[in-house]
């Protein structure tokens, strides 16, 4: 359906629409590890539920799909698109940073949006500094592809985060990106009370009464249902939810609870059916057990998010990082430092890549002394390479310490700022040259989709392509095989269906272990096979 028709439908249909955000549930509560088998298993029920949209793509998941799930992100989208023909597929992009952490050249952004728009109907996009010009190239590509554009205003609280500021940002969005959009209030850190959200929506709608608004919130503090209701009561049209079967802690609030509230408050939910929502969660309750080990070390609602403001996904990764650094005992110290760092660095939004910059700076400050070992990304932030500080500049001593430290040219921080600061124009990639470079490495013609992945994540995309050539479509394997700990007992059967619905069986017959190799014998679809894995120093063995 063309984007214009979708927006008209929203404008003229009374009621509230729900978008199921599995991408964020996976990212915030399960370290992005939800496997396609789970998504596909539940797809028919979600499709029948009548959600407006289903977010399955973007954010950190693209990189994790390549690195730790060995799934072609394009293939995942293709499978979901096929399995959910009646639901609009939504993806989240970080503007100029696409799905990574630094800006990409314009022609890479355009190519990526064009190729992904084959599968994505709604493009939700944000810039972590709310610097709207950073969205223009991707937004234009979305419009060119005829897809729905959903630019976000990242929301936070404290100094500078006033209604006037956000209304002015909304005006900038409309002026730079056009009026045929859905404006998303992106409350990734579960901030503000229901009253605060209601006031914000009211202010925006007062200035732009015809603007379609969506609300993306998190339930980190256990209060998002109330915020969702407040947003809807003020005229928000689309809200984001999760399946209650996942029992998300740091992600979205449960769909069913919101639906019950909405109905009791007299709101319609056009097209929504309750039974498939229940069916989906019944399945997911069992599936989630496969992913337990990827949940946060601390379970339960976290009202302290109001102070540290780390979004769900960043919080669990931050805790993991602290644990690895042996700093769990001092986590309170790191979180206090994070709050201080954020305020010192302009009270910016704690969302990727800002969340990583702030957290790693806090961690480094605790370990090495304040701003003693600044990261390159922090230097880029101070050089305004991502955009200007929206409210106030950091103190001069921070500029001095971060920018002058490690320089051998004797330049002062203010000279560095004068000479080097600001957004940088990136030259277009030589796509033909990069294609040849990729093809030389994989020794065969590359597809546009492979080139697209390679341009964004050169090393990981290459590793993935080689992995896929060697092992094929490993997403077919059940998640408990993919995340297996320990060998398989003799007689174990791995049973699964391929994309065509045909059943396959891999039966393990025996395992013979020697000092330097392991021989595994199977029946693969009733054919005997034996593989020898060398236990070399390499992590992955060589098979014969």
């Amino acid at each position: 359906m063309p984007a214009g028709e979708i927006l008209d439908f929203l404008r003229h249909t009374p009621g509230v629409f729900l978008t199921n955000n599995e991408r964020d549930v996976s990212q915030s509560d399960f370290k992005c590890r939800i496997m396609p088998q789970t998504t596909l298993k539940v797809a028919p029920y979600r499709d029948a539920a009548g959600y407006f949209g289903f977010e399955i793509f973007g954010g950190a998941t693209v990189h994790i799909d390549l690195m730790k799930k060995q799934i072609n992100p394009f293939e995942k989208l293709r499978l979901v698109r096929k399995a959910m023909p009646n639901t609009l597929i939504q993806g989240l992009c970080r503007g100029r940073n696409l799905f990574g952490y630094r800006p990409y050249p314009d022609n890479v952004i355009e190519m990526t949006v064009r190729l992904l728009s084959k599968y994505i109907d709604i493009w939700r996009m944000y810039d972590f500094l709310n610097h709207i010009p950073n969205l223009v190239v991707a937004a234009n590509a979305v419009k060119e592809a005829g897809k729905v554009l959903m630019p976000c205003l990242c929301f936070s609280t404290g100094v500078g985060h006033t209604d006037d500021f956000y209304v002015q940002k909304a005006e900038e969005v409309l002026s730079l990106l056009g009026e045929n959009i859905i404006l998303c209030i992106k409350n990734h850190s579960a901030l503000g009370s229901p009253a605060r959200i209601a006031k914000l929506v009211r202010a925006i709608r007062k200035s732009f009464p015809d603007l379609l608004i969506s609300y993306h919130g998190h339930n980190t503090d256990g209060n998002d249902l109330a915020r969702l209701m407040a947003a809807v009561q003020e005229g928000v049209k689309v809200v984001e939810v999760a399946d209650h079967g996942y029992g998300g802690i740091y992600s979205q609030a449960p769909a069913l609870s919101l639906i019950q509230n909405l109905h009791d408050y007299g709101f319609k939910t056009p097209g929504l059916s309750i039974a498939p929502v229940l069916d989906a969660s019944d399945i997911l309750r069992l599936e989630r057990r496969l992913y337990e080990k990827f949940t946060s070390p601390f379970q339960g609602f976290d009202p302290t998010v109001k102070r540290h403001k780390l979004p769900g996904g960043a919080l669990s990764l931050a805790l993991e990082q602290a644990e690895k650094a042996g700093l769990m005992e001092r986590s309170h110290e790191v979180f206090s430092e994070l709050i201080e760092v954020r305020e010192e660095l302009g009270n910016i939004w704690v969302v990727t890549p800002g969340s990583q910059i702030l957290w790693s700076t806090a961690l480094s400050n605790v370990l090495n002394g304040r701003y003693e070992k600044p990261s390159d990304d922090l230097k880029r932030l101070l050089l305004r390479r991502y955009g200007p500080f929206p409210f106030y500049d950091p103190h001069e001593w921070i500029f001095q310490k971060v920018l002058q430290g490690g320089r051998t040219d004797g330049k002062r921080w203010d000279e560095i700022l004068a000479d080097e600061a600001g957004l940088q124009e990136l030259a277009d990639e030589d796509l033909k040259a990069r294609l040849l470079q990729l093809e030389a490495q994989i020794k065969r013609p590359a597809t546009d989709e492979e080139l697209c992945m390679y341009l964004q994540f050169p090393r990981d995309a290459l590793d993935f392509i080689k992995f896929e050539e060697r092992f094929g479509q490993t997403w077919l394997l059940p998640p408990d095989v993919w995340f297996r700990k320990g060998g398989f007992p003799d007689g174990a059967r791995i049973s699964f269906a391929d994309e065509t619905g045909k059943t396959h069986n891999i039966d393990l017959i025996s395992t013979q272990r020697t000092a330097d190799s392991v021989q595994t014998s199977f029946l693969v679809d009733y054919h005997f096979q034996t593989y020898t894995t060398q236990l070399s120093k390499n992590r992955a063995g060589q098979n014969s």
Binding site: F471, G472, L477, G486, G487, T520, F522, H527, F528
Partner: protein
């Protein structure tokens, strides 16, 4: 009829011969070299005898094979194709040892094996031959003859080894410089390969078709033909795909078949043989050679005629007349045969021996498999790389091609690279489907090599499961 037959060969042809023998109630004896002791033909025989440590030399050792026949009390020996099949000494020594040799007598093998004598015999019988020379004398005299021949017939000119065959011992010269060089090189190569350094020249035809006629003769005056085959699709003079019939205009087909029968008579032929011709672009045909053995591609003829050629060979060898007359032979439909080998087409068709981890072959209506391998078989590096012959029958050409495509898709072979993906390219190629091919087909279709390697998808997944099993975790999920 004799009671026991020794098959002096290996692989698919040994099995194929044993099948006909067993149908006639004849016990079969396999021979094998130590390096070939897991070969499938051994399992198909009633008895098996190891004739030496191998590799290759014992299958060529006439004395050992005759000794094996005697010790097993076999009365007859079938040589198959290759190895000793066209060695007149073998036929002769079998006879001298009181064993029946299933094939023509030594003199026929000698005459037809010598390309020069064969050409003379055919010329005397009025059978058109490609213009050529006698054996070239050595030195300047030979070069002078070559120069005159080149002036009379123009290039290309083929330099052929007198003792060559099956595409071996042939070089094509495009100019005088190459001709002189190839005569010299051809001599030394022929000496090494065949123990005979004699070469001769033949006019090269531009993109001819390779047509051949299957004949049967019983030595009692009965000589019949079983129709034509088109074996034009060749790679470096080695046949890859064979088709029956050759789809020639009826009159031409009749003429060529009658010519083949005349050729057989002229050479006093006995048993099964093949008379090969080249057909130029104006449908002029020229005698090429006679193969005095059962040929790889005999299966296509069997499919379209219903005649069991090996059975007829055995009957004739036992002194019986052919069981069929020319008037009994009818042709129905089309048959196509592919030689599926363990070779890597992308690596210049380099043999790719190794362990066959999975082997699943197609079946169903109109499908004939002549295989010699099994799942778990380690293909030895010493012998030819043939895995199996796939022969399909179709009521029409198109039906046969469709069936061929279906069968190729039905193979599941893991562990070694095969020519199957290359054949899959051929059976979907418009020129092949449209029957637009001659001996230059492979050379003119380099794009056939542009295929993706196929490893069974479930086999790939199993490799990952093996790795997880070995390491106790999935290294690719934790990177």
């Amino acid at each position: 009829m004799f009671k026991k037959l020794l098959v002096a060969n290996r692989g698919e042809i040994a099995i194929r011969i044993m099948r006909s023998a067993q149908e006639l109630g004849i016990k079969t004896v396999a021979v094998y070299e130590e390096t070939d002791k897991t070969a499938m033909h051994i399992m198909h025989a009633d008895e098996a005898i190891c004739i030496g440590s191998g590799p290759r030399r014992d299958y060529l050792n006439i004395e050992r094979i005759i000794q094996a026949a005697q010790s097993s009390q076999a009365e007859a020996i079938h040589p198959g194709y290759g190895f000793l099949a066209e060695n007149p000494a073998f036929s002769k020594q079998c006879t001298e040892a009181g064993l029946v040799f299933v094939g023509p007598p030594p003199q026929v093998i000698i005459d037809m094996g010598s390309k020069v004598i064969a050409r003379r015999v055919m010329a005397e019988a009025g059978i058109p031959a490609i213009p050529g020379t006698q054996v070239l004398p050595a030195g300047v005299q030979g070069e002078q003859i070559a120069t005159v021949f080149a002036e009379n017939h123009r290039f290309p000119i083929m330099v052929k080894a007198v003792a060559g065959g099956g595409g071996r011992g042939i070089r094509v010269a495009q100019n005088m410089e190459e001709l002189v060089k190839f005569i010299e090189v051809g001599r030394s190569e022929a000496k090494m390969a065949f123990g005979n350094d004699e070469v001769y020249l033949e006019k090269g035809l531009t993109n001819p078709r390779h047509i051949e006629v299957q004949i049967l003769a019983d030595g009692r005056g009965n000589v019949i033909h079983l129709g034509t085959r088109n074996c034009s699709i060749q790679r470096r003079h080695q046949k890859m795909i064979e088709i029956a019939p050759a789809f020639l205009p009826e009159e031409l087909s009749n003429t060529i078949c009658d010519t083949a029968v005349r050729a057989a008579r002229a050479s006093s032929y006995l048993s099964a043989g093949t008379v090969e011709f080249l057909l130029d672009q104006d449908d002029n045909y020229y005698f090429l050679e006679v193969n005095t053995r059962i040929q790889v591609e005999h299966t296509v003829t069997e499919m379209v005629t219903g005649i069991d050629i090996v059975r007829e060979q055995l009957l004739v060898a036992a002194g019986q007349p052919l069981s069929v007359a020319q008037s009994d032979i009818f042709f129905r439909g089309t048959a196509i045969e592919l030689r599926i080998t363990a070779e890597d087409p992308k690596n210049n068709f380099m043999p790719n021996p190794g362990l066959i981890e999975i082997y699943q072959s197609p079946g169903g209506h109109g499908v004939r498999m002549d295989g010699a391998v099994y799942q778990g078989y380690e293909i030895p590096r010493f012998y030819d790389s043939m895995l199996c012959k796939l022969t399909v029958y179709g009521h029409t050409w198109r039906e046969a091609v469709d069936r061929l495509r279906r069968c190729l898709d039905g193979f599941v072979i893991a562990g070694v690279k095969t020519t199957i993906p290359y054949y899959k390219q051929i059976v979907t190629d418009p020129d092949f489907i449209g029957q637009n091919f001659d001996t230059s087909y492979i050379e003119k279709h380099p794009q056939l090599l542009n295929y993706q390697e196929e490893v069974p998808p479930m086999g790939k997944l199993a490799i990952l499961v093996a790795e997880i099993n070995a390491l106790g975790f999935n290294p690719y999920a934790e990177g």
